[in-house]
Symmetry: C2
Subunit: 407 residues, 2 copies
Amino acid sequence: MTPELSTPVASTTGNDPANNATRLLTALHRRDGAATRAELTAQLDCGRSAVSYALSDLVERGLVVVDEHPQAFAVPGAASGRGRPSHLVTVAPTSPVVIAVHLRVDTLDVGAFELGGRMLRIEREAVEPSPDVEMTMRRIGRLVRMIAEEAQRPCIGVGVSLPSPVRATDGYALAPRHMNWPGVAARDLIAAQFGDATALAGIPVHVGNDANLAALAEYVHGAGRDARNMLFVTTEHVGIGGGLISGGRLFTGASGYAMEVGHTTANPGGELCRCGARGCLEAEADSRALLRAAGRPDAPATGLEYRARVVLADAASGDPAARNAADTVAARVGSGLAVLVNLLDPDRIVLGGLLARVLKLTPESLAAALHEGSFLERAVAVPVVPAQLSAPTLVGAAELALAPLLA
Amino acid sequence: MTPELSTPVASTTGNDPANNATRLLTALHRRDGAATRAELTAQLDCGRSAVSYALSDLVERGLVVVDEHPQAFAVPGAASGRGRPSHLVTVAPTSPVVIAVHLRVDTLDVGAFELGGRMLRIEREAVEPSPDVEMTMRRIGRLVRMIAEEAQRPCIGVGVSLPSPVRATDGYALAPRHMNWPGVAARDLIAAQFGDATALAGIPVHVGNDANLAALAEYVHGAGRDARNMLFVTTEHVGIGGGLISGGRLFTGASGYAMEVGHTTANPGGELCRCGARGCLEAEADSRALLRAAGRPDAPATGLEYRARVVLADAASGDPAARNAADTVAARVGSGLAVLVNLLDPDRIVLGGLLARVLKLTPESLAAALHEGSFLERAVAVPVVPAQLSAPTLVGAAELALAPLLA
DNA sequence: CTCATTTTGTGCAGAGGCTGTACAAATACA
DNA sequence: TGTATTTGTACAGCCTCTGCACAAAATGAG
């Protein structure tokens, strides 16, 4: 298919929304906040004057600083050759920050991030699973205000990751996993934490699905860099989530609920899934499934993740039953991915959480199942790689809050 | 998920690629080639002066004409109220055309189209299934040259629809269905038909997958208009294809091979598919499957499409076995769509070919199966509608060739 | 029939952003 | 020390969009 089937860009003012200043800022962000002017000129594919012009704007707005006498070792990759050395452009130390929130059933992470994706500070609290939504929201509000205050820099947004499909229009969390919550108007409830009196009054709050946000983070700063069509699949605890980054954008679907990959068929006629079908990916390849395959009873729901890792460690050190279980799960993952590959035609697959560990342990079983199940993979050979970031979901939440600045 | 996760626009020159002239032309195209200035001003959301400026450019380039004294009845929808009546903008009668080609195993359609999607002329030839690729290519070349010559207008491109996954980079047809062909370098072979001597020397040739192109056509001119995320599924003859239009663009995946929906599981443990799996959508819901479900042997491969329609006609007039078969197929389609909906979160599903007929006949069976199989559909209710165009694939091929003009 | 009202198209001044060119600055290498 | 090479900046100019003022073309009330 010949590319570039364009449509009118949704431009509110008619003014150029993709001007060079924005593109430059985005390029800098993707390079983790530091790049030479020469690199930026090359990447933007425009004249040096245009970069000068765009940069002066960004410097004026206090977003970036230009170091005219960079040490050679400041940029590891930059080959120092002949000619005048290029100035180093970095994110300004007084540039605005965003606060990222990652809520799970048992933990609450809140961090401050600046442009470029650097984490300035992180705070983790243990939380007990509680059906009290209001209390959790207040807790989030308190922690966000604290982190924002400590940052001592202007705060332009809050990004929140939730273990739930999230509606695009209003940040409604449709079905929070394992939280014992009904659907909640998450964005409004969280925004309400920042009343008129506080320093964060009226701050924009963005909410997204955890796996989607992790996908976004891996694309921008991790193992998915520069992919044209990156498929991300991950599992933490129970259930399997995914995300697709296509043409540089997170694919959210019409409502925001897209890429619920957990119920892709990985093993026809296999385990009964809570969705009612059999052999769903998340019934065959999350930590519970791994424990079951290893013959280790999984009565307590706590510590599932840890115990799953033990199985993989045992497999690595030669335990045949554990090894077998890992192989089985890897094969199921491969089969599930095959279905997704046939539909989505990714040029890279990134696996996170437990799946990344399984991939590292037995890449062959996974690859074999993928190869067998996907005629497309046989034609184009899709690389499957483990995720790189240590806190992808939190980084993704930050990404969400930074997006308006890059648009 | 909050929208607008932007990335730098791939802009070759740094110049604004989404200028108003382009956006205006696209808007006019989407309105089938005729609109008032006032409508265009509203749609572009910019000042009247900007439209003036953009229009003068398009008029100068000979693409559109402005009728300053339109008859009131010329635009059916335009409510004639107070105030000065708006000028009518239409595609210029001397504007360039494109030639669209639709190759199937038994027919070859070639048509000339102008901006706005109007078909100026169509020629159909019956072809015999032949493994002789070269001969078919020459046949296409001859017919295209003839139609182009007769059009008496500048021809700016050739769009070709093939029954095969098509590689985005070079128009390579990976696996032509039922053609008894190996993979062929379709774009190059067709382009070679327009040598230096001919009037079409060096004309750009664009190749795409038939179902993808039909999806594109229904989106731009048919049942998918204005959808944000349109899923299209169709079948003609044997096999099932699909396409996704997301954010106004055809989703092609990384290689161009995306949306091979035929092997989505519609009936776990069902019929053995030629891909090796069981219960694939195309093993359960193409014309062959319908005939089988109706208990009518399907020995000859010819006329499958016609005989499938007879089954549906019989079902409509009360034949219980035929009715039963239609219901079964509809349910399978619903189940297959459920898988796709969970992944892709469309806000509209358009069914073409045999599936459109099945939908019209027994919408309830299909809806029930979709509802049961997709938790997402239960949350958002996705409308399923039949396709509207009579030659969607050909229109889609034209769309492909017109795209460069709209970019 | 006349005039106010409404809606639309155009001309013009101006701003903003980009391009290309010429020139100056800063390095490596001979 | 001088040349080649690469990079940043200043400046003139162009293209596109905006906003305003004004003219044009219809409706409808009196």
